[in-house]
Symmetry: C2
Subunit: 257 residues, 2 copies
């Protein structure tokens, strides 16, 4: 089918040598198709695969004993999902598609191998893990110290920015396929309150609703409402690459010198 989506993703950050491409390609099994609402994995299962998101959206979530749930993060095309489970034998959260999606699995145990073979890829993976953390802490701030209005606004903007970077070419980045229920569970609010908050924003023409989700109309104004600063989404690939080429060469990989 489509050629390796993992390669496409990493090329987004740095130029890859032929060996690196080969390495990445070898990790990737056939892309797998998941209809909307599929459980990609479930808490407690063996964490044996990572995935890249080729198309569609997914989210990780945790079901609580009392029936409520917390959505931890959403994933858009280009994202790598599951790195968080590297430290654990079993999955620590559920992963669900929220639109029809195509995901590209690759086995977790090969990551260790890859780390040894390509310094560049190793560093890029580490960078992605760090970025994931940055996103999580911003979500933490969102949950802890912002009003419902700010929460909704900030969240929408984050997702739009992530779309910008990942797939400005193939999608309308102001159009987010999110139900109010999902947003509520992500923001720690009730559905009813998300609805009311969203309606406020609509009345000010900052957002609108589409048949299958939310639409951002006015990013600038919305940024003011949210106090949004996209800095935490901008990785510093440049100095990473610089560090890599500075370090003594011990491994026989390419990636110029």
């Amino acid at each position: 089918m489509t050629s390796s989506c993992i390669i496409r993703h990493f090329e987004h950050y740095a130029e890859l040598g032929p060996e690196e491409k080969e390495l990445l390609a070898s990790l990737e099994k056939a892309p797998k198709s998941f209809p909307k609402g599929s459980l990609v994995w479930q808490q407690g299962m063996d964490s044996d695969y990572f995935f890249t998101v080729h198309s569609g959206w997914a989210c990780s979530l945790r079901n609580m004993e009392n029936g409520s749930r917390q959505v931890l993060d959403f994933y858009v095309p280009g994202d790598v999902i599951g790195l968080r489970e590297f430290a654990f034998r079993r999955r620590i959260s559920n992963m669900m598609t929220i639109t029809d999606a195509i995901l590209c699995p690759f086995p977790k145990q090969h990551l260790t191998d890859l780390f040894a073979r390509s310094r560049l890829l190793c560093n890029l993976f580490f960078m992605m893990a760090a970025r994931d953390q940055a996103i999580l802490i911003e979500r933490l701030i969102n949950l802890g110290r912002r009003s419902a209005r700010e929460k909704v606004a900030h969240f929408l903007l984050e997702m739009a920015h992530r779309l910008d970077k990942a797939c400005a070419d193939i999608a309308d980045c102001n159009h987010l396929p999110l139900t109010q229920v999902l947003m509520a569970d992500a923001l720690g609010l009730s559905t009813v309150h998300v609805n009311r908050t969203l309606n406020e924003l609509k009345q000010q023409s900052l957002t609108a609703s589409a048949s299958d989700g939310v639409v951002i109309l006015d990013r600038e104004q919305l940024s003011k409402v949210a106090g949004f600063d996209p800095e935490y989404l901008q990785e510093d690939v440049e100095s990473l690459l610089h560090n890599i080429s500075d370090a003594p060469t011990l491994v026989n990989n390419s990636s110029g010198g």
Copy 2:
């Protein structure tokens, strides 16, 4: 002074070869002493160093425009702090000591070098980054979908468990040097409400207060209150090591085979 605290930390996870010890030791500058309340680093500064916590507690936090703040995580002896900043040129949050503390700095740019030289250390660092994420998502769930009572209880238990693993030998792990203000800022609550919640717990003899913090009296009962499950704190080092020894040897590092 003290011999390398980084080595001590990593030996907690796996047996290190002499080369790995050397590598780690070379990273570490002289341990540095910080009085209680020091700003170790500030948002926006160059993120050029990581630290291990040798003694004392620290926390990362973000100051909000409206004067409030969000504490992101606390760090206890043995923790590595700053991995999150790997992807970024500038620090994305503040780091502050909350007791007198000794931290061991090591330069960020050497991490890349280290990744190339020791497969074991590379994987362990990656594992720690994944664990950090696990802690963050648990804090997320805490903020999003638990009552004040559950928040406080869950948080106290997490910190106690982390102390258990890190320094059961040198400290009373039920004794946490946390003010109510800090807890409030970590849990997204007001100080007043933390106080009331804590008083409830005290009246049920689940916790008590000491001159310099909180004391956990009854972990079992508190776990019930919180719905606490420590699984997310247990890394699976064993299968990680297994994966490492399975992977083909390309790098000239030790760590048996």
